[in-house]
Symmetry: C3
Subunit: 441 residues, 3 copies
């Protein structure tokens, strides 16, 4: 048992598969595949990833001053899970199966009405508990970050993957530690990428401002060295402190003298790890818009804390005014995209990663997919998830269509690496990106 | 307009070329090439690069104690520009054309006499203004660096590219941001290279010295921990401070325990970015002379500041006693190496990067160049600039001879990378270096 | 002479070889080979490496609580050298030849008895001098580390190659600077490897503990900001200090948020530099045992200092109770594994790196070696040393059998790099490791 932390997931998984063969711990099936294990662990997370992929959850909001901004906090996530998966009156009757009425199309309007009611009540409960939660959040933030702030004040200027980013970038059937490893590998280039953007105008202003503040500071320092009693003069000490802060702030806007500016390459390295990226980022890595869009996935730690603090106030509003109108869509989503897998129970059909059912023609599934636009996963999530799962589980036997897709993909990669590089290929951006990711993996 | 900072130079340049086609903003010519744009922006800088390349400006001085040392400061640079390009009575009649009399060989002695007079007057003006400028420099340094010194005292031990280095390493027609990017990329390996040289004898001495000082310090620290009043004893506190400084200085001479010493590889990486390097550095990267020669390009920040402080005192001397005797050479230089380009005006002929006129046989232009030794650019600057410009402006159509040179170069590179590595080739060092740089690019 | 520090060893060595040809500085031989030079410099070190390789010296001890642990300090090493090589009555009659009686098998029991006596006396001398040495060690540690500890308290948490590690990882005929360079290159990945192991259970505990301490600290900080006099209250200041220490310690057990966990790759990189590694580490880099075994080679600096402090107490015990019973084995070792080389004197036969005499069939010498198990070097040291020496001295002419082995090895590498990667080869782990190292070199 003490060794357990030092086992890799592959070892644990292969033991489960082995034990099933010997003792049949899952009674409905003879053999468990790696996909079955993932399905069981990630049942609800797959649903969340799919809902966010199909843009079903109301996370994007048009704000009066800030423009399009994404709001997704731990509180909101908890409420979503409560409504769909756990709470009393949720859509699931137990941990592994949807309530039967939600599988039938007949009573969809009725069920939507019921769900809408439920969301309203939970929203109101949130509103009621808001002061309590707010105080809790403030205390938690205070206890967590005061000491950090004192020890290393720069840490709030660091960045972290946003909660939305973690969902947007997650593959279907990707375990927590795999996602974490992928994002950790991308962390350094992503930080570098965000830091290499500094407005040249702001830099000039900051340089002059910093020089001014620095000059006054220099004089004060010189005076102090000459005679320590200067510090005793009223306001001198506070002025030194203030000027120091001004200089520090100014310097944070001045790019490092020997910084190398190569956003295009950095974004490429990032893409090789995070795998998902809107098409229009290609060839415009140096634009301010690309940066601000990437900032939604990779936010300031300070912004993260602020959002968490605001969460108790905004969550009830989002639930009542934004989520409720989507009740019918949600009911439809769960009915249309739930399949029962023997030995696993009800799972999200997207998580089957079947290119025939959910493939996107733009992502090299052309000819292989029969999915309508409603059924297609966005951003090539089906294809990329399939590829990722096949790579991380080499012993897994994919179904026939998927095997065909994968071998086709491998051929293309081989041909590409032999001939021209994917970078210069004239194929559509998405397909090129897919090939680039596969090559990088 | 707010987006302008986020445009790449390539985008800006291609728009200028496009607009010329539509509106003919330059009236003398139908189409502007990328080279024309560069010529206009870098007219005077190209002259300066060429003059430094041909060793025309008196920057190298034999000093009584320091040996050969290079002195080139912002003040000196400003004076050079004043004399040649801007000031009243300078060589140029406006921003784009040399005065006609300087283009004729007839009155060269007369003009040289006039220039000599002018340099004398400007030198005397410098001498007169010296106290004022000196005070300004001191104040400027005080205001700029006091605060930095207090915040991070180690920053003066950092290094920076010297002003001379920036000129020596600059290609013809290389824009500021391109040079900056190149030098920034070389900064890290260059710092590493300079730091991996520590005299072993000095290290042994520093180790013993540091141990001694550390021992006494240890005793004082122990006494202080035992009884805080020890600090109140006269001289104890100042002794602790002094010993701390001694230990710090000693430690800076002791190489890091786990440092990897590989100067040869580091210099190779540096060369791949800075492109210019004297031949005799090859295979002697580990020698002290190589290091001290490289230190002229890559000096201590502290030395840079010191030179700037001394500049007001030394500039008039350099002008009057060193530059004046070169008046005739300068007049000849401007007459011989100025060409008029349609739509651009007078530019430095070196900046045309024509291997036929200014190529150096040692740099693979053999057979292609018709240049006399006086006409050849040193260090293969013509060839390397041509290569650099062709690589950074792939859409540029070089003239016939240059195309031939470039395609010949590409063939050689291909053959080399197929067969033996350039490192082991038996060709002359310079040609090998050229190939290595091309391969690295 | 002032240039001497800037010569590479290759230059010095080739000069020695050259001078021998001209002036015959070594009278017994016409030409000195690179191996002869190494033999002369590393005569005793080669013996030590061989004895540690054959596990002759008693370094591994079963401790009551700590399990198998390795104890090898500078004091112990000095005593070993005193007993075998230097002291009065040692095994060598001068710097280059073993006493004749030790080369004859006849009087082995007698000589073992004599050696045993000598070890006893030296052990007793150690015991007698123990207080003095202990005081010296304590003073030395105090003088060396007090100041370091104050300047950078984290430096004791850093790691260093243990004295045992340096012997275990050393090739035969490897000069100090070569070993140092190899270990320095491995230092960074090795530090990373050790740091990426943090017990998940401990991390959870540390997180909670840290949060608790941080909370209390936050309150105290807030109070202080509100009113500075809070600090004057008894115990508040000491509590703030204490809590700060607790938080710091807790944090050192929490893995960095964006750490990438890839022990397998790190160990591969380390192996490429350190060359020696037990077989069972392969494919179990993520296990706790592997880490703790590697920690014997790469110990905490604090542990190193502690061992040095304990050395005076433990050295006499090791000598008297552990080394003495091995007297006969030692006598046999020196008799069996000493050869006289013309122009060099007596050297350790292992250092000849003759795969026929000391090769290990598991390390690709199968068919070429005639060595009995007693004669085989462990861990493929003969093969790896031969390879390393041939690579670092390309001009060296190895004897016939060794050339055959080397060319065979090169063929295998070529075949491997062409076909499958060595990683996936189905050959025995050791051979695969050898190939991997050669490829990496």
């Amino acid at each position: 048992m003490g060794d357990l932390p030092y086992y890799t997931w592959e070892e644990v998984q292969s033991r489960i598969v082995q034990i099933q063969k010997e003792h049949q711990i899952c009674v409905h099936k003879k053999e468990l595949s790696e996909l079955d294990v993932s399905h069981r662990i990630l049942r609800f997370k797959n649903y969340m990833v799919a809902m966010i992929n199909k843009n079903l959850l109301p996370l994007q909001h048009r704000m009066p001053l800030l423009g399009d901004s994404i709001f997704y906090t731990r509180g909101l996530k908890y409420n979503f899970q409560l409504i769909f998966f756990w709470g009393p009156g949720c859509l699931f009757q137990n941990e592994w199966s949807l309530k039967p009425e939600y599988k039938r199309a007949g009573s969809r309007l009725e069920l939507a009405e019921k769900l809408s009611q439920r969301i309203l009540w939970i929203g109101l409960a949130n509103l009621l508990l808001c002061p309590l939660v707010l105080v809790w959040q403030i205390l938690y933030a205070f206890f967590s970050y005061t000491e950090v702030l004192r020890r290393e004040p720069g840490s709030l200027g660091a960045r972290c993957w946003s909660l939305y980013g973690r969902c947007y970038l997650r593959h279907f059937n990707e375990l927590d530690h795999q996602l974490q490893a992928r994002l950790s590998r991308a962390y350094k280039p992503a930080s570098k990428y965000m830091n290499c953007f500094l407005s040249p105008l702001l830099a000039v202003a900051a340089k002059h401002m910093g020089f001014l503040a620095g000059s006054v500071l220099a004089v004060l320092i010189a005076l102090t060295v000459y005679d320590e009693d200067v510090l005793a003069v009223e306001h001198v000490l506070s002025m030194v402190t203030l000027l120091g802060v001004v200089v520090t702030i100014c310097r944070s806007f001045i790019p490092e003298e020997h910084m190398v500016f190569c956003p295009e390459q950095l974004l490429k390295v990032i893409l090789a790890h995070i795998h998902y990226m809107p098409d229009h980022w290609q060839r415009s890595a140096h634009r301010a818009e690309t940066r601000s869009e990437f900032a939604q996935l990779f936010q300031y730690k300070a912004v993260f804390i602020l959002e968490e603090l605001l969460s108790p106030l905004l969550t009830p509003l989002v639930l009542i005014f934004k989520l409720r109108p989507k009740s019918l869509e949600i009911i439809d989503f769960f009915r249309n995209f739930t399949v029962e897998v023997v030995g696993v129970g009800d799972t999200c059909s997207f998580a089957q990663m079947d290119v025939r059912q959910h493939g996107n023609p733009a992502w090299m599934s052309a000819g292989k997919t029969e999915a309508s636009v409603y059924q297609q996963a966005e951003d090539g999530k089906t294809e990329l998830s399939l590829m990722h799962f096949a790579i991380t589980n080499p012993r897994w036997q994919p179904p026939r269509e998927c095997s065909a897709f994968l071998s086709h993909l491998r051929e293309r990669v081989q041909k590409d690496s032999g001939g021209t590089t994917p970078k210069k290929s004239r194929r559509s951006g998405t397909a090129a990106a897919l090939l680039w990711i596969v090559t990088a993996v």
